[in-house]
Amino acid sequence: MAKIVNRQEMAQGTIILNEIKAPRISQKAKPGQFVILQADETGERIPLTMADTNPKKGTITIIYMVVGKSTARFRDLNVGDEYYALIGPLGMPTHVENVGKVVCVGGGTGIAVLHPITRALKEAGNEVTTILGSRSYDLLIMEEQMRAASTDLHICTDDGSHGHHGFVTQVLKDVLENNDIDLVVAIGPIPMMKFCSLITKEKNVHTLVSLNPIMVDGTGMCGCCRVTVGGDTKFACVDGPEFDAHKGDFDELAKRLASYLDDEKQSFDAYKNGNAQKTGNFDKT
C-alpha cells in the first residue's frame, strides 16, 4: 500500500510529484482535501494537499516543495517505494458552486493545491480567470494543467522571464478593476495570500485562502493547527484548511509556522551531511 507509482521532478528539482497507490482515498477525496504522510516509523507526519486523484487507477497525486528534512526524505523515495503511512482524505472539501466569475491566484506549490479547485470551479460552470506567479519562469509548475482548468490564464514572474513582470497582486488588481468578480481563491505563500486578501477586501470580493499551519494528527485531537479566524480559534485540519481570507490572521500563522525553526534547521543540516550520497535508500521499517 501507499506505493509510489510515478515520480517527477519539477521546477529545477525543487518540487517533486508523487503519484501514489491509495484506492480508498482516491474514491473519496474532493478538491481542497489533504492527506498526511510519513516516510517511515521515525518520520514526521506531513500534511500535503492532493493535487489530483484518479479513482479508476486508484491513485492520488501530491506535489511538494523540498523545504526541510521531511520533504527531503520524501524526495529520496523512488518509484516502487512505499510511504510508511498515508492517511486521508482529511479536512473540509472546497465548497464548489456556480457563482459566476471567479479568479484563482496561485504561487509556488500553492498552484498544485489550487489545481483541483480550479478545475472543479470551472466544471461547475464558472468563468475562471487564473493568475499564477513564480520567482522565475523555470520555477513555475503545472502551467498546462492550469491552462486547461481555466477560462483564461495569466502568468507573472518576479524577474520578468515570462509573462507579466511583477507580482500576482498587480494582475489581480487589474482583473478586479475591469470585471465584476464574485469569488477569489488565493493559495500560495503567506505574504501572497495576505496581500491578495488586502486587495480583495478593498473591493469587497469574497475570498478564500488555504491556511497551512503545522499539524500532527490532522483529525482535530491535538490543537497544534489552531489559527485565528474572525477572532475565533479554529483547527485548520477539521474546520479548514480553507477559510474566509478577510477574517484570517496571517501574521499569527506566519509566527506559529516558525515554532521549530532551530530544530528543523539542525535536523535538515544533519540529514544533508549524513545522507548526501544516500538517496532513496534508507531504512523503512
Binding site: V216, K255, S267
Partner: protein, 467 residues
Amino acid sequence: MADKKKKVPRAKMPEQDPNVRRRNFKEVPLGLEAETAIAEAKRCLQCKKPLCVDGCPVSIDIPAFVSRIADNDFSGAIGKLWERNALPAVCGRVCPQEEQCEGRCIVGKKGEPVAIGYLERFAADYERNNGTGGVPEVAKPTGKKVAVIGSGPSGLTVAGDLLLKGHGVTIFEAFHKAGGVLVYGIPEFRLPKAIVANEVAALEKMGAKIECNNVVGASVTIEELFEEGFDAAYIGVGAGLPRFMNLPGENAIGIYSANEYLTRTNLMKGYLFPEYDTPIARGKNVVVLGAGNVAMDSARTAMRLGADSVKIVYRRSRDEMPAREEELHHALEEQIEFVLLTNPTQFFSDENGRLTGMECLKMELGEPDDSGRRRPIPIEGSEYKINCDMVVVSVGSNANPLLTNSTPDVSLNRWGNIDADPVTGKTTKKGVWAGGDIVTGAATVILAMGAGRAAANSMHDYLALGW
C-alpha cells in the same frame, strides 16, 4: 513490644531514584522480585466474601490469582487474570487501585491493603518475560465479521473477546500505531510501549486484522463498512478533542494542549529528536494547567525534557486534585511544584509570538459546586505574573465529532458523547455498539475495558440471535 505475631508490612515497590529518573524516560517502578511478590500475596486473607472484587470494575477473582502467586504458581495466576482482563500488565500499572480493588481490601481497614496492583503487574510481567508466548485458543470460526473502531483499551478488549468467540475482527485505527491513549498519551516512564505492542501482537496472533491509518468518518464510514460486509461495529474512539482555556494570547508559540504535547513526545518519540523527526519544545520554565493524571504526565514529561522548573497551576486546593495519589507523590519527588488556588487570566508573548509569561489570579474556596467540590472564587486585585516559556493545557477533553458527524443515526447526548445503553453498549443504530471514553467522557482504562467486555457479550448475542 509484646506483639505475638508481627504484622508483615506491605511490599515496597522498588523505584528509580527520583533524582535520576526525573531526567530519563525509563519506567519508574521496577517491579517486584518473585520472593517479595510471594510474601505480599501471603498477606491476603483469602476472604470468603472478598470486598476487593466488588471494587474491581471487571470483577477479577482477586483471591484466586493472589493465592496462586502465594503458591508459586505464576502461570496459574496469569490464567486467572486473563479470565476477566485481557490487559493485566497495563491495569496493574495504571488502575487507580486505591479507589478500586485496594480501596476495599479488608486488610486495608486496619493497616495497608494487599498490593493487588503490584501483584497483577508481577504476574503479567512474569508471563511476558518467562511464559510460552502462547495465546488463548479461539472458537471455531462463525463466519461473522466485526469492525472495531479505535484501538484503545476499550477496542482491544472487544477485539479479544470476539476473537475468542470465533468472530472475525478488523480494528480500524486513525494513527499509525495501535493502543490509543496507552501509546499516545500515557508516557513511556509509566507504561512502556513495548508492553502495549506485546498485547496488540497477541491479538494479531489470535487472528485480528489491524488497519492503521484509517480515520473512520473520513477514510470510510460505518455505513460503507456494513456495505463491505461487516456484520456489526464497535465504536471506541475515545475522547480526543482538547479543551483550551479560551484566554487572550492562547495561540502563542509554547502553549500546547496536553494531547499535542504528549502525542509529540510519546507516539512520535519527540524525546528522541533528531533520531526521530518530530520536534518537541524543551521548555525551561514550564507551567502545566490542571491537576489530573494527564497534568501529572505532562509535568513529569517536561521535567524529563530538561526543564529548570515545572509548576502545576491549579485553581482549587491539594485536596481536590483529581490525579491518583501515587502520581502526585511521584511528581513531588521529581521536584514538580504545586501552585494551588491560582488561575490564569491571560498569556503574554514577545514580538515573535513566543510565550513569555502568564497573568494569574489567586483564588479562595467557597461553597461546594455541582461536582461536590468547593468552588474556587477569584480574589479581587490579586493579579500577578508567572514567567514561563511553555504552558501545557491539561484541563480535560471532550468528544471528537469527526466520526459521529458521519453517523447521524447514532444519537449523542448534549455533550456530544454517544448515547449508549449502560448495560449492553448498544447505540441507537442497529448493529452498532459504543463504549469507553466516547460514551462516558474521559474516564479510566479499566472502565473502558469493562464497557468493551459488556458490549462484546451483547454483540455476540446479536451475531447469534439478532438485535
